[in-house]
Structures are given as C-alpha cells and as structure tokens.
C-alpha cells in the first residue's frame, strides 16, 4: 500500500482555475490578442476550462490550441521506445499574440522548455506566459510560472498525480503519491 495524500478536490480545482482566469485578464488588461495553448494531454483540458472561465468573466471567447511537444523533448535519444507523436492543433496564427501556455504540473521545467521551442517554430508571439495548476518545485532549468493554482512542496520520491474528468473519466483531484522504495 502506497501512502497517498489528496491535495486538491474538484471544488478546489474549479476555484483555482477561476482565480487564474481573473489574474490573466487583470495582468493582460483584458483579453485583446490573448490565446490559450494547452500542452497535451491535461494542459489542453485545463486550457479549455480556463477559456470557459474567461468567457464567464469577459463574455468573449479566447481561442484555444493544443500543443504536442513530443518531437521537441530533450530525452528522445535516451528513451528506449519512441514516444507516440500526436497532432498539434493550433488553427490560429500565433505571431504577435499574447500566448498563455497551460500545463498541469510544473516540475523540472523541461516540458516547458520544449513547449517554448515548439511554439517559436510556429511563429513569433508577442509574449508567452505560463499558467500551471500545480508547481511542485525541483526545477532543472531557469523557468517559472506566471500563474499557479497551488504550490506543493514535494520530495523527489513523490509523484504528483492530476486527475481531470475530461481526460481520465474520473472526478477531478490532485494527489501526492509516495513512490515505493525498491
């Protein structure tokens, strides 16, 4: 039995997303030329939710794109099996836009590094800001989030698991799981 610790429930996640939506609108002084880009898989779900929250606040829809960063990973030559590549679905021009990059957990920062490279290959955004549900620390690159749902101090032998109803067909929650000692 591995010890688990529930950090956020459905209601906490909903409130966190709503607060981030308010912060995004405040910091960008409205939603002009704002676009949300979620990193597959759970970042894309959160980007859709943020878009719905922003619509509730401002009454207008912010475009949402989905970014697949597989081809930009820095560990491709180290993994035994090529990870499955999925499509990037961004049907708007990102040049001169204010991009809010969305992901579920910010950890080493390597995913975000890959996402930045992938985005810049698609155009030249005016700004790129980062929104995450969880920041668990342990950065290996100089990257920080502009909007954070919750900071969770973790140790390296723990996993942070984000469950979202759209992608996992279970009720939303965030749990910290202690990895079993080998």
């Amino acid at each position: 039995m591995t010890p688990t610790n529930k950090i956020l429930d459905q209601e906490n996640i909903r409130r966190a997303m709503m607060r981030i939506a308010h912060e995004i609108v405040e910091k960008n002084k409205g939603i002009d030329s704002l676009c949300l880009v979620g990193i597959r898989t759970r970042g894309a779900v959160l980007a859709e939710r943020l878009s719905a929250c922003i619509k509730a606040i401002e009454g207008k829809t912010v475009p949402v794109g989905i970014l697949d960063i597989t081809l930009y990973r820095d560990d491709l030559s180290m993994v035994a099996q090529q990870p499955v590549v999925h499509e990037t679905l961004i049907d708007f021009d990102i040049s001169d836009k204010k991009i809010i990059l969305v992901d579920d957990v910010l950890f080493t920062g390597r995913t975000i590094r890959a996402a930045l490279d992938a985005l810049i290959d698609l155009g030249r955004p005016a700004t790129i800001q980062l929104a995450v549900l969880i920041d668990r620390g342990h950065r290996e690159l100089p990257i920080r989030a502009d909007y954070v749902g919750k900071n969770i101090p973790t140790s390296l032998d723990e996993n942070v698991k984000v469950v979202l109803s759209e992608s996992d067909s279970k009720d939303d929650e965030v749990v910290v799981i202690k990895r079993e000692q080998k």
Binding site: D68, T70, L71, Y72, L76, S77, V79, A80, Q81, Q82, V84, V85, H86, E87, T88, D117, A118, D121, L122, G123
Partner: protein, 310 residues
Amino acid sequence: MTEWKKRDLLDLQHLEKEEIELILETAKSFRQVSARDVKKVPALRGKTVALLFYEPSTRTRVSFELAAKRLSADVINIASNSSSSSKGESILDTALNLEAMNVDLIVVRHPSSGVPDVLSRHLKAAVINAGDGCREHPTQALLDIFTVKEKLGKIAGLNVTIVGDILHSRVARSNIWGFKKLGANVTVCGPATLMPRCVKDLGVEVSYDLESSMKKSDCLIVLRLQKERQQDSFLPSLREYAKLFGVSQSKLDKASQDLLIMHPGPTNRGVEIGADVADGCQSVILEQVTNGVAIRMAVLYLLLGTKGVN
C-alpha cells in the same frame, strides 16, 4: 496503440496490421510539420542517415532526404554511378564502411530483390528498403494506404484494383500485402504476360478486363509500365497496351465518379494513364507525393527510436 519494436523496415509482408496502423497514425502528426513555415523539428538531431541508391530515383530519394532533414538528421547521398561501386566494391562493403563512420540508418534501393535483408543481417545500423528489384517498396505502399485512408476514411472492405505490369512491380507486391492486412479486397489487372504465376496465392482476384474492374473499384492504382524491363517481348506493342490497359478518360467516364486514381510515378502519359486522367479531379497523384514525406518521417522517427533488434 502498439509499440514499435523492429529495427528495420524491409517489407510489409512481415509487418503486423497494428504496426502498419502505428506508422499511419504517426504520419498524420508529421504531415503538419511540412505544412508550416518552419519545416523542421529537432527530433532526430545528431542522427546520420545515408541514402544508398543503386537505381535511378527522383521522388523516393528526395522524399527520404526531405523527411530526414525535416527531422534534423544529417543526410548523405550515395548514387551507384558516382561511388566506389563503379570500381567494383560490393554494396555490403560500402554499407559496412558507412557504418564504420557511425551512420545510424541506411536507406537502400537496389535492382536485386533481397539486398536490404542481406544488409540488415550484417549491419548494426537500421535499414529501410526503398525498393528492391521486383520484391517490395514498403514506404510507397504505406503512403498509398495513407492517402486512400485520408480520402475515403477507411481501408477495410474497400475494393482496390492495381493495374499494369504486376510481374515486375514491387509497388504492387507491397500494396497487396498492405491493403490485404488492413482488410481491403485487392484485384490485380493486366496482360496475362505481365501477371505473375500463382499470384492468386497472395489472396487477390485476377482480372484481364480493366473496364469491368474499374466499375467495381473504390480506388485504382495505376502502375508505371517499366519500359526498361520490357525487352523480353512481353507486349506486342505499347499502343496495344495503352488501348487495353491504359486508363483513359473514356474508361474513367464509365466508372464511379468517386473512383480514386493513384500512380506511384513517374508517369508515362498516354501509355498507362491519359494526361487528362492524371491531371483530372479524381487523381490524387500529387497528394500521394505530399503524404510520402510524412510517411517517411514517421518511419525514420520510429526506427531511430528503437534500440531493439528484429
């Protein structure tokens, strides 16, 4: 989805249905890379790919070269007439020398069937068959299947007809394996002199009447009449071949308006396909070429990611 475990891509005969589907699915994601302004991703940075072509080729060679370059791999081109093979070096020696220079993957085209298999047995580098003799041309069949799936939404249950010189066609053989594995019904059509013996053992229908086959088909793959392989008087004349087995507009008018017309290129206009058909609205010949780059990117990506062996 299944995982890719093979080190080489030698043929479709020995691929599982799931492996073919994985390549098709992966290719879908790669197609958009070629459609962007910045047509490059860093996935194969630092890898080296050698193209070893012992037969003339434009499309396939350029397609592989672009595919590798768009994945950020380095590419070297070796053509038989300008390399040491003109001094008598065997292809295996050439390949071993490439490997000694740490080439990660070798794409090979050769007039003799089985050459890619021989290379794969002796090399640690991955090998892709880009056409060996009359045997197989797996990436061509994969891009044909990909194109049909994009256009018609499925493969299973479709009626696919391949018309032309079946006897000498590696494209036909790979397509028969591929389409059959994914559940299509395949008919081969051509003059009896250009029909391999025992072709029915591959599980295909044989037809000698193009018009009636076209009426029953969802997709028609027109093969190039390989003039360089016709010295042994397989045909009375090119004109007779064009009349009986050339896909003309008048034959096309009698078939379904949704019949897809495909051709692996290069085309002999006026022989196996009419110019109006090749340029017509039912032709997807140039889309095949576009999809070819995506298929080859997918294959390079999957092969260079595995550290396993066959």
